[in-house]
Symmetry: C2
Subunit: 231 residues, 2 copies
């Protein structure tokens, strides 16, 4: 199972071994890691190195520490404490418009795939979110339902990587385009237009009309992006 | 600048403060962080907490430790020691075919944008890589040039997020689809077909014919994906 470690930068090797065990399938979601002391003994390194490695894995969102219970493998990308891509994007002077460009690419293709693959319960969920958006007068609630509508489409592709990218792009939008969804909804006429756009997208997904759903999603995101860019 | 820290899970707050300083533009690429001792004093936390935070940031690839010189902000997403998305993908039982699907989405759109935005020196670089692929008989070298050809197209979009996604997808392919590029090149007739496909893509980018470049890239990746899936 765990192999003893030689060499320098000890915590890196600890991380590598845990990473490798996940990649080999030896560690799965929900599994509890051995205690710090056990890990230190098995890998023959100091508890400090073990603690450093575990902290890093917690920051990344790979493990979750439950007080008194130990460290568990979680693997929820949406739960990480740190947003590496947001920080990288900032350091590399990325342009916020780049985020909107990529969002459109991903979501336009996602709706195409979703139209072919969506399950009955996901269609019901889309419908529930759609009428939720129509019926609420709370802007924050509406923005939340809007995001969930798009997220449900990403999930309906059945492609876990598309779902991951959806999360990454959402957190980039939240970091770099402040209150984007909120701003859009502030104007009442927009609310009606947006409901209509979402409704038409929903109908075409439901009718498995992927080409039409695709062009409607492109139009919808062009409309949204224009508002965000001009503010 | 740095504010003293109260409360529990101390290393998280240290990370948050450093992350925030990057997001505010107070820390830039190449900047040196204060020493562990200085950080511990400024934030009024233990050196252990500082060290834990710095380790985590090193794993993520945000900082680089140079022996005897200190910790520097790097921001090279391609240099991180850990591949969070690969591990998440594994834990969430992602299907390797999902990676190929997303790769096609990103690269087909990237070549469309690249055809509109590419600079003279990037065109020259593409041409150099193309003829490098034709002239080498070394399979590894050829696979490397092939990857660089696609990477140059991603860069030519001028969209940093597309470049980041290209890196993420490349490392997923390397983790989940062993020797993908290598396998494809093993057969001599493939080598000729691939050179021809890349050549045509290059010509259409050069002629700013984005529609044709797009459909050629789609065909190229369908060809490649088919070989990878059937092996």
């Amino acid at each position: 199972m765990f192999k003893p470690i030689k060499n320098k930068k000890v915590y890196e090797y600890v991380i590598e071994q845990i990473q490798q065990m996940v990649m080999d399938g030896a560690l799965k979601k929900g599994d509890r890691l051995p205690s710090e002391r056990e890990l230190a003994e098995q890998l023959q390194v100091s508890r400090t190195s073990i603690r450093e490695a575990l902290r890093a894995l917690e920051v990344i969102g790979l493990i979750e520490t439950k007080q008194g219970e130990g460290n568990f493998i979680t693997g929820k990308i949406e739960d990480n404490l740190f947003e590496p891509l947001s920080v990288m994007f900032m350091l590399n002077k990325g342009n916020p418009i780049d985020i909107l460009e990529v969002r459109k690419i991903i979501e336009v293709e996602a709706v195409t795939l979703a139209s072919e693959r969506i399950k009955q319960e996901e269609l019901k969920e889309l419908e529930r979110l759609l009428y939720g958006m129509r019926d609420t007068n709370d802007e924050k609630e509406s923005a939340k339902l809007d995001k969930e509508f798009h997220f449900t489409i990403a999930k309906a592709t059945g492609n876990y990587l598309i779902v991951s990218l959806f999360h990454i792009i959402s957190s980039l939008i939240e970091s770099f385009i402040e209150n984007a969804r909120f701003k859009i909804l502030r104007r009442t006429e927009n609310k009606k237009i947006l409901f209509e756009q979402h409704r038409e997208i929903f109908i075409n997904i439901k009718e498995r009309n992927s080409k039409k759903a695709k062009s409607l999603m492109a139009e919808h995101l062009e409309f949204v992006n224009k508002i965000i860019i001009n503010k």
